[in-house]
């Protein structure tokens, strides 16, 4: 089965550490790589690094680039590689999104997977105290 590749792009070491955390949970992820852009790195060098990373993880059915923050340099540079059915970008990467990409088991199209990962990222944010509120009410009743 061919997999959609993944590139995590961030400021500082966030991308490397997110990938390391995901690998600790689900095991080695050969189809996902990380590009950490230093705070003082040259844009051209960063661009080349992202381009190389996309090539390295591509299995021929597309690459999903997950960046740290919409509007930030990692996203803006990644956006230069946007191409239908080849490269998609989802911003605001979090650990559940990386795990979602890591654990998709059926062959999925890049655009569907990008939507799934976006949705997973949004759904995985909880204000934990809100989850406890109904139980508190029950106890009071």
């Amino acid at each position: 089965m061919k997999r959609v590749g993944g590139v995590i792009v961030s400021h500082g070491q966030l991308a490397n550490e997110l990938l390391a955390a995901a690998e600790t949970v689900v095991g080695e992820l050969s189809h996902i790589t990380a590009v950490s852009i230093g705070w003082h790195d040259d844009v051209e060098i960063a661009k080349e690094e992202i381009e190389r990373a996309i090539k390295n993880v591509s299995e021929g059915i597309g690459v999903l680039v997950m960046t740290d923050m919409f509007g930030g340099t990692p996203t803006n540079i990644s956006a230069m590689f946007l191409k239908e059915n080849e490269v998609e970008i989802v911003t605001g990467v979090n650990l559940p999104m990386v795990i979602k990409l890591a654990s998709h088991s059926q062959e999925t199209s890049l655009s569907d997977l990008a939507k799934d990962v976006e949705e997973q990222g949004k759904q995985s944010i909880y204000r934990t105290s809100a989850l406890l509120e109904p139980q508190k009410l029950k106890k009071d009743a």
């Binding site: 600790t24 949970v25 689900v26 559940p96 979602k100 654990s103 997973q120 995985s124 989850l131 139980q135």
Partner: protein, 90 residues
């Protein structure tokens, strides 16, 4: 269908690495495997780590394990076993 309860006995509960162990095990079976909390309506597909994590099951939580498929007896026994072993953490 094979159904029964399991209790979480490892101190950290069903955290990320324990959930990953469970999912790897469950993935090896053909059967559909569903885990439900006995104290609320939360339920999860045992083959999806992100689904299992939403159970937020801590030590002492009792879960209802439902397994349906050709290998349900073996799958139930294996999963029951991993809970009883506290995910190798105790």
């Amino acid at each position: 269908m094979r159904e029964g309860t399991v209790r979480i006995i490892n101190p950290l509960g069903l955290h990320a690495r324990a959930a990953a162990q469970l999912v790897r095990l469950a993935d090896g079976f053909n059967s559909q495997i569903i885990i439900r909390r006995s104290d609320n309506n939360a339920s999860a597909n045992a083959k999806s780590i992100l689904s299992v994590l939403t159970l937020a099951a801590s030590i002492g939580t009792i879960l209802i394990l439902s397994v349906e498929g050709v290998d349900e007896e073996n799958a139930f026994a294996a999963i029951d076993n991993i809970f009883k072993g506290g995910f190798g953490e105790i």
